[in-house]
């Protein structure tokens, strides 16, 4: 079985976001980059599938040269090889999906897996758009995945608000992973050493022949307003409770 796993490199979630006035992207110097956490669930699931059914796991990533670090980490977890679509350009989900779908088509696959969303811009579009580009069935926000390799059928449980849904679909398909699908492994030392020697094929975005005009343009980016200083209520408990109720009702308007 050949599984493609789409991996995005994103700023570490603990990053302090910095913006200069007029910026349409965050300042990236000094940022620690990591694998998108939801993609880690995807990688783990692919590795488990491969351990059960055999075959190979190919990492597919898009972005500037720094992305190779994330790729090597995915390889250290146990993926077999990688394809890096290289670009320094700012691109939107649509262009990313087109580029990734094009490479997937050339590469061939039985299954495509990725995270349900990337935690940088939180758009949750690329997985779904890749399925559309390739004309594949898809199931998103998956918390349990069963793949029957013999019959080439997939049974997936996906998370809904307050409920879960069981979906059946044929292979090939696109799956997007939600937290809870599994517990991602950490790399082992032998795998970290092997990862250095695994193949990472670099493909310039321009060489793919896909339309790279973005559909979405960021107009403006601002930080959330600073939270006002906390109000501390003093006095007798009875008085304070009354004042709290009044503030919640009249000022915060939450009750």
């Amino acid at each position: 079985m050949k599984i493609l796993v789409l991996v995005k490199q994103v700023p570490d979630t603990a990053t302090k976001i910095r913006l200069n006035p007029g910026d349409t992207a965050i300042q990236t110097d000094g940022i620690k980059w990591v694998i998108n956490p939801y993609d880690e669930f995807a990688i783990e699931e692919c590795l488990r599938l491969k351990e059960k059914a055999g075959g190979e796991v190919v990492v597919l990533s898009l972005g500037p040269s720094r992305v190779e670090e994330a790729i090597r980490q995915a390889l250290a977890m146990g993926a077999d090889r990688a394809i890096h679509v290289m670009t320094d350009a700012v691109i939107d989900s649509q262009v990313a999906a087109r580029a990734l779908a094009k490479v997937a088509q050339e590469e061939g696959y039985d299954l495509i897996v990725t995270g349900k969303q990337a935690v940088d811009d939180d758009q949750a579009q690329v997985g779904a758009l890749v399925a559309v580009e390739l004309g594949l069935p898809q199931v998103t926000v998956v918390i349990e995945l069963n793949v029957d390799v013999e019959s080439r059928r997939i049974r997936a449980e996906r998370e809904l608000e307050g409920a879960s849904e069981i979906v059946e679909l044929p292979m090939p398909a696109v799956i997007t992973a939600q937290r809870g699908l599994n517990e991602p492994r950490y790399p082992t030392l032998p795998n970290i050493m092997k990862a250095k020697k695994k193949e990472v094929k670099s493909v310039p975005l321009d060489s793919l022949g896909v339309d790279t005009t973005p559909w979405v343009r960021v107009e403006e980016l601002t930080l959330p307003p600073e939270r006002p200083a906390a109000k501390i209520l003093t006095g007798e408990p009875e008085e304070a409770a009354k004042e709290l109720a009044r503030l919640l009702h009249e000022e915060a308007k939450v009750i």
């Binding site: 670090e69 250290a76 950490y186 790399p187 030392l189 032998p190 795998n191 970290i192 050493m193």
Partner: protein
């Protein structure tokens, strides 16, 4: 980019599953960090220095030093990792092929714990060649008699690497002759005249006094040639110093990470305390000393791994790193004020732990004595 970025990241990811609270609990309960050691073993880190043909990963001292550094930097303590990683060095360098086949694959897989190393004695501390524990050949077995002290991890190890005298000191030309190294099966020894007396210390570090009363050790457990043991131990010292330097650096960076974060957040007199030079400068100075020690560690490790003489660099690295980690510890506890003494902040625990490196496995004065004698060509001082 750091050539070891991927390695560091790997160790960090593993260590993240063992947060400071895990180490606090171990410290409070004086518990052996079993779960952490299993995870490090399973991920292959503790087999870093064992060649691939014996089931290890076959890396150098540089990588091993970085692994231990990252463990300590995460807030953990690498003492047990260090022991399982490195005690086998003597066996690897001087054991017979048969002995290596017998033990190394099991050590690499973690099935066999070789985490105890018995040198120090009450009557011969820093002065190793005067140790009095004897191993006498009775025609059948070696019989070990004597006393050792501060022998760590004996209760959590399957084997002990033991240094004992096989030829009395008055029958050898040089006092460093006549000492031999043995692999002692601890389970057997405990049935056969070995008594273990735990020693409480100021940190969570299982260490013991050992009493040997005619413990028998088979000939096939003698490592290398009889009488050459001291040189076998000596030629493992440089690597050990480089590993210890890594652990010191990890501690030092831990203190700087924590103290700078705290100094940015803690507001007193309407300003973050880190804005005061009295807080900022000691941290800056400690950081500078850490970085300098780090360079010396790297140089020592590179020379060692290339097979060049590294005695000077390894000793300098250990000296500088252990002093820098202590300086950082002191700056960190001062930065934290009263909170530095509260267990939940981890500073007091690491403060206790990092102090050890100036005494064990070798104390600072003995390092200085080495530099004086062997680097500066001054008369031997001891």
């Amino acid at each position: 980019m750091d050539a070891f970025a991927a390695l560091r990241e790997g160790v960090r990811q593993l260590c993240q599953r063992f947060p400071a609270s895990y180490w606090r609990d171990c410290d409070r309960d004086r518990a052996y960090p079993e779960a952490f050691l299993s995870a490090m073993t399973e991920a292959g880190y503790l087999a870093a220095l064992i060649p691939e043909r014996y089931g290890g990963v076959g890396l150098g001292v540089m990588e091993a030093s970085v692994i231990l550094e990252e463990v300590n930097r995460s807030g953990g303590n690498a003492a047990q990792c260090h022991a399982q990683m490195y005690t086998m060095g003597t066996l690897l360098r001087h054991g017979s092929e048969e002995q290596k086949q017998r033990w190394l694959p099991d050590i690499a897989a973690g099935r066999l714990r070789l985490q105890a190393f018995g040198v120090t004695e009450p009557g011969a501390g820093s002065d190793t060649t005067h140790l009095e524990t004897t191993a006498v050949w009775d025609g059948d077995h070696y019989r070990v008699t004597g006393q050792k002290i501060f022998i760590s991890r004996v209760q959590h190890s399957d084997y002990l690497l033991l240094l004992a005298r096989t030829t009395p000191i008055d029958q050898v030309t040089r006092r460093s002759d006549g000492l031999s190294v043995f692999m002692v099966d601890l389970r057997e020894a405990l049935q056969d005249g070995l008594f273990v007396q735990p020693i409480e210390t100021m940190m969570n570090h299982e260490t013991n006094a050992l009493f040997f009363d005619g413990v028998s050790v088979p000939r096939e457990n003698l490592i290398g040639e009889e009488g050459q043991g001291f040189s076998y131990i000596l030629d493992g010292m440089n690597a050990e110093r480089i590993l210890i330097a890594g652990e010191c650096l990890g501690d030092g960076y831990f203190f700087i990470d924590r103290a700078t974060a705290y100094a940015r957040e803690r507001v007193v007199f309407n300003r973050p305390i880190g804005q005061n030079q009295g807080i900022q400068f000691p941290l800056a100075r400690a950081y500078a000393h850490l970085r300098a020690a780090d360079l010396m560690r790297t140089q020592a490790a590179e020379r060692f791994d290339q097979g060049e003489p590294s005695g000077e660099e390894a000793n300098l690295a250990k000296l500088l790193a252990s002093e820098a980690s202590w300086e950082a510890a002191n700056a960190a506890i001062q930065t934290h004020g009263g909170y530095g003494f509260a267990v939940d902040y981890d500073i007091e625990r690491k403060f206790r732990e990092t102090r050890l490196f100036q005494v064990a496995p070798v104390s600072t004065n003995l390092i200085l004595a080495y530099i004086g004698e062997h680097v500066l060509d001054l008369p031997r001082s001891y």
